[in-house]
């Protein structure tokens, strides 16, 4: 049963499980896609200590005003290439993200992103600001596409 504050996103990518797992766990890959539009996530701002209890941090920097938003998480489970779990423990009952990678054959992988306690993002003013900024950037991006 789906609970309030629970979130699931499914997506099929044309790549192997191993490559997708590496994309989600290696700074040299994460830097290409992690941050919202209008932000950069430099490799120097990404910390990946890939083991249970290890740190997963990303510093996203706003391209226009230079403001920064840091996501701070800790890995709970690391099972290459099928499963990755981290939690953002900054707030009580922190948001926990589980990503599962399923091999569909023919070099296709289903990636399922499941999150619980999504609402705690709103308990932290910093997270809220960061998220609102990313949404504003996204809106700007959409507007710029629509204008052309």
């Amino acid at each position: 049963m789906t609970q309030p504050g629970e979130f699931t996103y499914r997506r099929v990518h044309r790549a192997s499980r191993d490559l997708l797992f590496d994309c989600m766990t290696r700074p040299e890959h994460l830097t290409h896609f992690w941050g919202p539009d209008g932000t950069t996530t430099p490799v120097s701002g990404i910390t990946v200590d890939l083991r249970p209890g290890g740190v997963f941090e990303t510093v996203m920097q706003n391209v226009t005003d230079g403001s920064r938003y840091t996501m701070r998480a800790v890995y709970l489970e690391v099972r290459r290439p099928e499963r990755l779990v981290w939690t953002e423990p900054g707030v009580e009952g922190g948001m926990t993200t589980t990503i599962t990678f399923s091999d569909l054959g023919d070099v296709c992988t289903e990636v399922v992103t499941h999150q619980i306690n999504v609402q705690v993002m709103f308990a932290s003013p910093e997270a809220r600001r960061g998220f609102e900024t990313s949404l504003r950037r996204f809106d700007d991006y959409i507007a710029s596409i629509a204008a052309t």
Binding site: P4, G5, F7, R11, V12, C23, S134
Partner: protein, 131 residues
């Protein structure tokens, strides 16, 4: 989204975090009910139910009649809409992230060995809670 709107949203999510309060809302989705009627299916005192009702009322998810003496509770469907909207924005963030990942994968694989076929479509399916 303003900070104020977000605070209202966090109050709503917090109100929904409790299973008893969700059960109360489920009951109210079928029609208005008094505190006494709402207390019946639970092994809780009317006083305990009243506390839960106050939380739901403060979150704006239900309202209580000012007219009838029994003050029946009603669900406020419109109040659930901005929660649905926020979940939609959260989904957009992930969709956007995985779109960029696809672009990155395409760039990587253009340099590497051909992985068979030229299919490029990708499928999405989402489920969300809190609506």
């Amino acid at each position: 989204m303003t900070a104020l709107a977000s605070d209202e949203l966090s109050i709503k999510f917090a109100a929904l975090a409790d299973p008893t309060r969700r059960a109360i809302l489920t009951r109210l989705a079928n029609g208005a009910a008094t505190v006494g009627q709402l207390a019946e299916p639970f092994a809780l005192t009317q006083q305990a139910i009243s506390k839960h009702i106050k939380v739901l009322e403060r979150a704006g998810l239900i309202s209580r009649s000012r007219i009838a003496q029994a003050r029946p509770c009603r669900i406020e469907p419109a109040q659930f809409e901005n929660m649905a909207e926020w979940i939609g924005q959260h989904r957009q963030m992930w969709q956007d992230r995985y779109d960029r990942l696809d672009q990155h994968l395409t760039a990587l694989q253009a340099d590497g060995p051909v992985t068979g076929g030229t299919r490029t479509e990708s499928g999405t399916r989402t489920e969300t809670g809190g609506t």
